[in-house]
Symmetry: C2
DNA sequence: TGCCCTATCTTGACTTCATCAAAATAGGGA
DNA sequence: TCCCTATTTTGATGAAGTCAAGATAGGGCA
């Protein structure tokens, strides 16, 4: 189903801003509001930051987008909403990869005791070091305790 | 081992600010920097916000504290660092509960290889509705589609 | 097709969370 | 006890995101 159709289905107006955001995120998942704004402006130079926030919030609330927030950076957005996939963040370079759900579908985890809380979503963020960062670390490293975890995210 | 000892071990000075923060978080886990500041000021009225941030950052970096960021709110801190437990956030009232790791120890999940990324930490945040919110929802509800997920976090 | 209503967008001010820098303070080893 | 420097304080600054009011433009209907 294309975006126009889906927006209609949800009772939303089909605006250029919404289409542009959706189209951009289709190509460039894991984007912050800022990134979305710059990307969208290539095709629609006039969009305001506020509109980007509006669109991201509205579409996330209605389930057309998914949002997650890696530690220490802004919220990121993507159009993959139907599968239960997770995310891995490289602690060195900030790169983000999708991770298929290891345990099957659904919450993917079954917390033994939840104090009576009715779990609906499991948001999982793995942190690690990606292959290329591991290499450059080896190259540089003189025996230090490892890559420093608190670099800015690219 | 008490806090003084542990700080020494890490080569850090034992300051009243650090001890106060640690003591406070022992009693009140899942606290934001703001909450920590007010709490600490009960016993040490002069602490600056900046110091609280310093302490939280330093001790988190050295592994004496753990930090996590539930979607849509400030970073929270706790002293439980050695077990691999997760968190459940009530989408309605914002309450947070600890959740024991269901699958055993360690990363708790095994996407051992993910695009060559070497996973070291799995941060899991469950979102759901806690028992008391479910009750009050039932009480109020006239057949609406359910509790609204985007309320402010208490 | 054209009109009109209102959802959506724009502009601009403002909050919250957090970091940076420089001067003042206070651990703790000698 | 003295002195060095790690920490803390003070004050400015930055990033991410929200709020509110007026302007614009989807799209249902005549």
């Amino acid at each position: 189903m294309d975006h126009t159709e889906r927006l209609h289905e949800l009772g939303l107006r089909v605006t250029r801003q919404r289409l542009a955001v959706l189209r951009f995120l289709e190509t460039t998942p894991h984007s912050s509001a800022d990134t979305v704004a710059s990307g969208v402006r290539d095709e629609l130079p006039e969009v305001s930051m506020q509109s980007v926030y509006n669109v991201l919030n509205d579409l996330t609330a209605l389930g057309m987008l998914r949002r997650f927030t890696p530690p220490g950076s802004a919220a990121l957005h993507e159009t993959r909403v139907d599968d239960n996939h997770h995310h891995a963040v490289c602690m060195t370079c900030g790169r983000i990869e999708d991770v298929e759900c290891a345990v099957g579908h659904a919450p993917c985890l079954s917390p033994s005791d939840t104090h009576g809380m009715n779990i609906q979503i499991a948001d999982v963020v793995y942190q690690g070091v990606c292959a290329s960062c591991r290499e450059s670390a080896h190259a540089t490293e003189g025996g230090a305790s490892g890559a420093q975890p608190r670099e800015s995210v690219a």
